[in-house]
Amino acid sequence: MNAAALAANALPAPALLEVEHLVVESVAGAAPVRLVDDVSFRLEAGGTLAIVGESGCGKSLTALSLLRILPEPGVRLGGGSIRLAGEDLSTASEERLCQVRNGEISMIFQDPIASLNPVQTVGAQIVEAIRSHRDVPRREARRQAIALLRSVHLPDPETRIDYYPHRLSGGMCQRVMIAMALASKPRVLIADEPTTALDTTVQAQVMALLKQAQRETGTAVVLITHNLAVAADAAEDVAVMYAGRIVESGPVRAVFRAPRHPYTKGLLAAIPTGEESGEGGEIPRLVEIAGTVPRPGSLGPGCAFAARCPRRQARCSQERPELASDGDPRRAAACFYPYDGAAP
């Protein structure tokens, strides 16, 4: 490590995106129900954080709250702060939020076909994205749009720019979405299950494209995914969510190689590997996590995972474990009886 790197390490770099004690709550019923509960994380410039978890764990709501595009009035930001380069977006004006959405934070969604406007050509939509944050003539914006489509490897961009979305495949629409999201040179790109709706070979193309775009632009990425292998491949850091809370976080390799929280360990064990384990013989039994995810609002005072946890003790259903680090300062787990970090 050279001197410059040492100096940089000594002072913690100001985080590009810093989320603290984020709460998102549903106000549809009589009492507000917390859907995202006390979520905190940091993202450095150029870094990639994967937020993983199963459906209903609050990962997508966390992503939407960063852009302040929660499905209000049913669901609202209930507390906490979202600081982009020091500026708190949780209290920013709607006008300022518009600027942020148009430039500094972009988002791509799971269903690329539904996310594009079906009655406008692809080109018109990208030109609009470009002109909304930079004052350039229409002709110049169109030239930039073609260049963007070329940079996301859309074949024959000069022709396809005048297509309506229905003439493009799902993979091509996702390329267009990425081109639009990058048009403003955002500092943070939020990718919510960006490849889940795509075919296997196209998924690999889109993930490779996201990595390339990140390398070229230095954009930081928040990757929301249910697929642990996608997170392992694309991210440096991971936050595992369960029932609205982060239950484990840290560098993705360290966490997945030696998970501390029983939920993380269970998730990893439940993935079928098919690595010839059943060779010539019976099909091996997969490790199951017993039971199902609890419904929001049905949580007691203890750990939300306690009812399904193989390591639970009496304390677990009475008291909620906070996310705390033990040993390695980069890692944290919300568990009274974590695994010691030895290989799973």
């Binding site: 075919d199 690999a204 642990l228 010539g280 099909i283």
Partner: protein, 362 residues
């Protein structure tokens, strides 16, 4: 050769689209033996779901023959098909859309018995309770409605319904794709246990390689309506003999990336061409890094590599001494690729996978 439970020979499904013919399934041969899982893998548009619908008698068959225990299914009227239906049941991808929200779970599971006129009310109720127990749902669930259950529990209800008529074959169309990982493992374990206990065969349609590698006895890979590879050999994915199998494997994210020695994988370019306008020759040739002129003009027929494996690729060379060479670095031999399949574990039938060469039409 033991008799197949279900056999498809040269099955084609065609749809007229804008003055052209879309060949969704184009000359597929397939055999499923009792108590065996045959997985059909491919990307969207490869024809895997259309094939499943044809087997269920839910779609038109333009050509070829589908036989169930020797009885021809193609060309039967719905009335003629009805007495055969109990033997083949289906589980769908979306457990939210495949259960009637206005019926109780008990009524949903009872429905197939009711339609087939089996038993009286009391005996059907008893059977429903037995079925719910089999799939791990408690007795109280029969009075509840589908919305009161999670995705995994709903898929258990769908499986109980499929089991009601004691089928010999269940066609599973992406049965765990909509489920979370932790719940997916529960449903896969259930399917494996039911196969072991009841001797049910599965036609398992999936795009998820890790799931297929886990439970298939034989794997069939389709691309643009045709079978490009078929194998029950354990090295099918680890040492692929077809470039599309290689590409699918490399495109699938796995935890192997955590291994420090993992090499970056080549990403296949392009997308699946339109089935309305398939390329001449090998349909994969437009994306195949190993394609030569022959591939772009002549379709490679599916040919046996060994007694358990067939591939449709010109670039796989089988020398007279049995050595097998490929331009993508897989080198093996006919002897190495023989046998080695997963045996069917069950009291139902001590079956070794059917010799592949035996079901290639001459």
């Amino acid at each position: 050769m033991r008799g197949a439970l279900l056999s498809c020979r040269d099955v084609a499904v065609e749809f007229p689209v804008a003055g052209k013919v879309l060949r969704a399934v184009d000359g597929v041969d397939l055999d499923i033996e009792p108590a065996t899982t045959v997985a059909v893998v491919g990307e969207s548009g490869c024809g895997k779901s259309t094939l499943a619908r044809a087997i269920m008698g839910l779609g038109p068959v333009s050509r070829g023959s589908i036989t169930l225990e020797g009885k021809e299914l193609v060309g039967l009227t719905p009335r003629q098909l009805r007495p055969l239906r109990p033997a083949v049941q289906m589980v769908f991808q979306n457990p939210f859309g495949s259960l009637n929200p206005r019926l109780t779970v008990g009524r949903i599971v009872e429905e197939p018995l009711f339609v087939q006129g089996i038993g009286d009310r009391a005996s059907r109720r008893a059977r429903v309770r037995e079925l719910l127990d089999m799939v791990g749902l408690d007795a109280g669930s029969e009075r509840q409605f589908p919305h009161q259950f999670s995705g995994g529990q709903r898929q258990r209800i769908a499986i109980a319904r499929a089991l009601a008529l004691s089928p010999k074959l269940i066609v599973c169309d992406e049965p765990v794709s909509a489920l979370d990982v932790s719940v997916q493992a529960q449903v896969l374990n259930l399917l494996v246990r039911l196969q072991r206990d009841l001797g049910i065969a599965y036609l398992f349609i999936s795009h998820d390689l890790s799931v297929v590698r886990h439970l298939a006895h034989r794997t069939v890979v389709m691309y643009l309506g045709r079978v490009v590879a078929r194998s029950s050999h354990r090295s099918f994915w680890s040492a692929p003999l077809h470039p599309y199998v290689l590409a699918l494997r490399d495109a699938t994210p796995t935890m192997a990336v955590l291994d420090d020695t993992a090499k970056p994988k080549a990403v296949l370019e392009g997308e699946v061409p339109s089935a309305l306008d398939p390329p001449p020759g090998c349909r994969f040739s437009t994306r195949c890094p190993y394609a030569v002129d022959l591939c772009r003009t002549v379709y490679p027929e599916l040919r046996p590599v060994s007694d358990v494996e067939s591939v449709a690729c010109h670039r796989v060379e089988i020398a007279s001494d049995g050595r097998i060479r490929t331009p993508w670095g897989v080198e093996t031999s006919v002897a190495e690729r023989s046998g080695g399949g997963r045996t069917v574990a069950s009291g139902a039938a001590p079956a070794v996978a059917t010799p592949d060469s035996a079901f290639i039409a001459p």
